[in-house]
């Protein structure tokens, strides 16, 4: 009969070995020695205790956890409260549209003849427009479905969002777009 497998050796050590395999164990010195060795090692491991920290540590630990939770909760609030991702996504879309126009403009200027201009190809309805893919990449791990479900990447949302900005927010948007354009040019 074959020797006990690792699973069976653990079962034997814990007194859970099936009866037919128990018969093998009773007659196999090698398996019995392995089970005994495992038991001794486990027993020795169990006897080692964890060094107990100072009693003052536990109160300090709870306070640390509380502080870490507060920090964790406020982690996403470093930017102005109005500048949430519901605003940032449409802003990103607007910035990308402007960038796309800037990139396309020189190509139009270098054409030799107006006849050379081709009618734009109809977009492939099965593929999402490139700018929306780029927007989702900018946002991070939010996939298209999630963003769509949240209602933040439907066409027209960006324009709507811009119309509802306050003067202060529009100034900030202008600043952000200028900075983005500056970065794109360089």
């Amino acid at each position: 009969m074959t020797h006990l497998t690792p699973d069976e050796l653990i079962d034997a050590m814990e007194g859970l070995l099936a009866a037919d395999r128990q018969a093998h164990l009773a007659t196999c010195d090698e398996c019995r020695a392995q089970v005994a060795g495992l038991s001794i090692t486990l027993s020795e491991a169990k006897q080692t205790s964890v060094t107990e920290p100072s009693p003052l540590f536990w109160q300090h630990f709870s306070e640390r956890v509380g502080t870490a939770i507060d920090r964790d909760a406020s982690g996403g609030r470093n930017r102005p409260s109005w500048l949430g991702w519901q605003i940032l996504v449409p802003l990103g879309a607007v910035a990308l549209v402007i960038l796309a126009l800037i990139v396309a403009a020189p190509k139009l200027q270098v054409s030799d003849s107006p006849l050379a201009l081709q009618a734009p190809e109809a977009p492939d309805a099965s593929q999402p427009p490139d700018n929306w893919v780029m927007v989702t990449e900018l946002v991070g791990n939010i996939d298209l479905d999630t963003a769509s479900a949240a209602g933040v990447i439907e066409p027209g949302v960006a324009e709507q969002a811009v119309l509802h900005l306050t003067v202060e927010e529009q100034q900030e948007l202008t600043r952000l777009l200028k900075a983005e354009l500056q970065r794109a040019k360089s």
Binding site: P6, T41, L42, E44, A45, E52, S62
Partner: protein
């Protein structure tokens, strides 16, 4: 039927009529999900020692263990609404702690702690210095050998030997099968035996 019995009662509102410290874990979870930060503080106070010990067994030093345990509780706070009560809260917290340890701890970067400790001093007074020193040296060697095991083997040994978790519970924590847990347990003990074999 009484009027009270048909009123919808949110479980966490129990916290309003009982001191938090008297609530059981499931009531504390409900209260935490209901927004009670104090209830979570009671959970931390109740389970911090066990979670810390899981982490300590992993890394074998106090500083890293306390950082890992803290991280585990922050993740527990974040994910409390996902706790469905299918396992004991302690098992769920162990799972988080083990995952934090598995993600952050490398078997090659175990920083072990020096021998001095309060219980060692106590042992010296009771048993006499030579015997206590030998015993503590051996215990330190065992802790170090455990902390140097491959991560899955280490997690299995820690949960089985020190937290009395069943193979099935460990399988749930590690996301593996009972057979894999038993195999890991066997190899953990075999490696431990081998690594300690040359020592007294």
């Amino acid at each position: 039927m009484t009027h009270e019995s048909v009123l919808p009662v949110r479980p966490w509102t129990v916290a309003l009529v009982k001191p938090l410290a008297e609530l059981d874990d499931s009531e504390l979870v409900s209260a935490t999900i209901g927004g009670s930060r104090e209830a979570f503080e009671v959970i931390v106070a109740r389970h911090r020692r066990a979670v810390y010990q899981v982490c300590y067994r992993f890394v074998n030093n106090h500083e890293d263990a306390s950082d890992l345990a803290q991280d585990a509780f922050v993740r527990a706070w974040r994910g409390m609404k996902n706790f469905k009560g299918e396992s004991a809260l302690s098992t769920w917290l162990y799972r988080i702690a083990v995952n934090v340890c598995l993600n952050r701890v490398s078997a090659k970067t175990v920083a072990t702690e020096p021998l001095e400790s309060n219980d060692q001093v106590a042992d010296v007074r009771i048993e006499g210095a030579p015997h206590a020193m030998i015993r503590e040296e051996r215990a330190a060697a065992v802790r170090k050998a455990i902390a140097e095991l491959p991560k899955k083997q280490r997690a299995t040994l820690i949960l089985r030997a020190y937290h009395d978790m069943s193979h099935q519970q460990i399988a749930d924590v590690l996301g593996s099968s009972v057979g894999a847990v038993k195999a890991n347990f066997f190899h953990a003990l075999a490696n431990l035996k081998k690594n300690l074999g040359s020592e007294p």
